[in-house]
């Protein structure tokens, strides 16, 4: 097996085992309702995590994701509720501003040669600050279009529902995987994460790819923000604080190396589902205090990185020896 596939398989196996064990304890976890919830409740996180996967594959990181989600929510709410725009126009506006925002961060990362960590940290402050400057309150959105979208539900036997946003996330994952693995842009992203100097000498348009990666991440974060606003019918400047950390965790748990160059978009999907499983398990249990969520997610992160280390080390040795 290709050695970079191994962490992905490991993640999938662990998810399956964890889910099976949870079902043994709470049979209710195995219902269409819970499965539908996994998609709907994690839709915004999943979409943002697809963008984060690209950034991390390219060897960067994007700390501004949560703030962009928050900003988008506020922008969309303001445009719809205050300015009377049609939601689709507001969405287009949000995506366009995010593209510009991400593009600027990408330009800074590339041309100022500053670590992405710090550039996107500034981006995070800027987006969060910008959202708070627009409004300090939570702005409700009520529009037929929103109602219509929330009514787009496929009901499953057993009370489960597949929502529009849940399916949208799945679609984004599929498209993301295609882009990562089957397009030039995708190969450039991996190239950049593998070795940016080699990549540039091999003719990878480093500047364009870097800018593209951050643009993509910000746009997906904005899409996540739109989904969040559909999910809550509101825009709130403090929404989605720290979501970037969840996204990073999902990416890492999904088997992508934080140093870049190795990983899979679909791994991130499993990562997101696993985080969702932990939360749902703790809710089902109901006696575990919330801090257990943090402790368990920390422990999971630990488990996965150690596992990946071992798998990676073993496969490197194995392949050199054979």
């Amino acid at each position: 097996m290709n050695r970079s596939l191994r962490p992905l398989v490991a993640t999938a196996v662990i998810f399956a085992i964890a889910y099976a064990l949870s079902i043994l304890q709470f049979p209710g976890l195995f219902s269409t309702r819970v499965l539908g919830n996994f998609l709907t409740d994690n839709a915004f996180l999943g979409i943002a995590a697809v963008g984060m996967t690209f950034v991390i594959l390219s060897g960067g990181i994007d700390l501004s994701v949560g703030a962009v989600i928050g900003f988008t929510g506020v922008l969309v709410a303001v445009l719809i509720s205050w300015a009377g725009w049609h939601p689709l126009a507001a969405f287009a506006m949000a995506l366009a501003s995010a593209a510009a925002f991400g593009g600027l961060m990408g330009l800074a990362v590339h041309y100022l040669q500053v670590p992405a960590f710090i550039v996107t940290l500034a981006g995070m402050f800027l987006a969060r600050g910008g959202a708070s400057v627009i409004t300090r309150d939570s702005i409700p959105v009520s529009h037929e279009f929103y109602d219509w979208i929330s009514s787009l539900i496929i009901r499953l036997p057993g009370g489960g529902r597949l929502s529009f946003i849940g399916l949208l996330m799945v679609a984004i994952f599929v498209v993301g995987a295609l882009v990562a693995h089957r397009t030039k842009f995708g190969s450039y992203v991996y190239a950049l994460g593998g070795n940016s100097v080699s990549a540039s000498l091999m003719g990878v348009p480093v500047a364009r790819t870097t800018v593209g990666v951050y643009m993509l991440s910000s746009m997906l974060a904005a899409l996540a923000g739109i989904v969040f606003s559909l999910y809550t019918s509101a825009g709130y400047p403090l929404a989605a604080v720290g979501v970037e950390l969840d996204a990073i965790s999902a990416v890492v748990i999904g088997g992508t190396l934080l140093t870049g160059g190795y990983g899979f978009v679909l791994g991130t999907f499993i990562g997101v589902m696993l985080l969702g499983l932990v939360q749902t398990y703790i809710i089902f249990d109901g006696t575990l205090s919330s801090w257990w969520t943090k402790i368990v997610i920390g422990a999971l992160l630990f488990l996965f990185i150690v596992l990946q280390r071992l798998i990676f080390a073993a496969s490197v040795r194995g392949e050199k020896a054979s």
């Binding site: 190396l257 934080l258 990185i305």
Partner: protein, 333 residues
Amino acid sequence: MTMRRALSRMANPQLLALVGVLLINWILFPNFFRITWQDGRLFGSVIDVLNRGAPVAILAIGMVGVIATKGVDLSVGAVMAVAGAVAATLVVAGYPAPVAVVAALLVGLLCGLWNGFLVAVLDIQPIVATLVLMVAGRGIAQLITEGFIVTFNDPLLVFIGTGSLLGLPMATVIAIAMLVLVTLLVRKTAIGLFIEAVGVNRAAATLAGIRSRMLLMLVYGLSGLCAAVAGLIVAGDIRGADANNAGLWLELDAILAVVIGGTSLLGGRFSVPLAVVGALIIQAMNTGILVSGFPPEFNLIVKAALIFLVLIIQSPLATRVVVVKRPVREAGK
């Protein structure tokens, strides 16, 4: 010679930036530099900057070594919460304060060593390695306090957070002491050189006979210890351990301070004093916004602007334009 060196040191961009921020504060708030003597201690906005900036400065003192080894420690905010929780629950449970303080410091050190273990021995990338404790640590702190703000009135803990020595706030005194100690530790020994060597090229360092694992353990351990000190200070400051809020997002400020202080996230050359200056710049902005009555929403925006400013000044691009004489970084990274 030394005079000229001292002068050229004064002229570095960080100190200039600090002076700049302080001047802006002064323009916006004319009493900014007013210092009075109040109950045996200095009192004024500048003192607030020194006092409020101390926790981040202390975090930065620990963080700078980590960053110089090409690492980063995301867990310091959570470790602050853990240390505060440990100290508070122990004194509330009736243990003598010195025991509580020592226990908190040990716990911080342990947390740091745990990070160091992941990075040095298991060879895990620092961001993920310390993300583990960043996520789990706050959970552990809440586990210790059972979700409550554990309040106390123990004189020693309160003194650490709010006392004063020679007119200066205790937090400031502690920060200065740590600055001096850590600077001596890294510069009067070979540790500083070794940290830089490991940061520049760990493989080469190992082959040159540097015990890079021990060194990494030391560096992360120190960062954990510094976080514990900062945690004690913020707990003492409010006479309570607030597992939820203590140190929340301060790791970002600490990293920012280090970067503003001119240490690259790519590792290598570092400066402890300049990291502290970085922390003071951040706090001077915070305090400035508060005293001038600006809405705090702008705080984040000003911070973002400051980062961009510093980045542009420090970027190789600008160096190329401004000082043509300095060597230029290689293409790519």
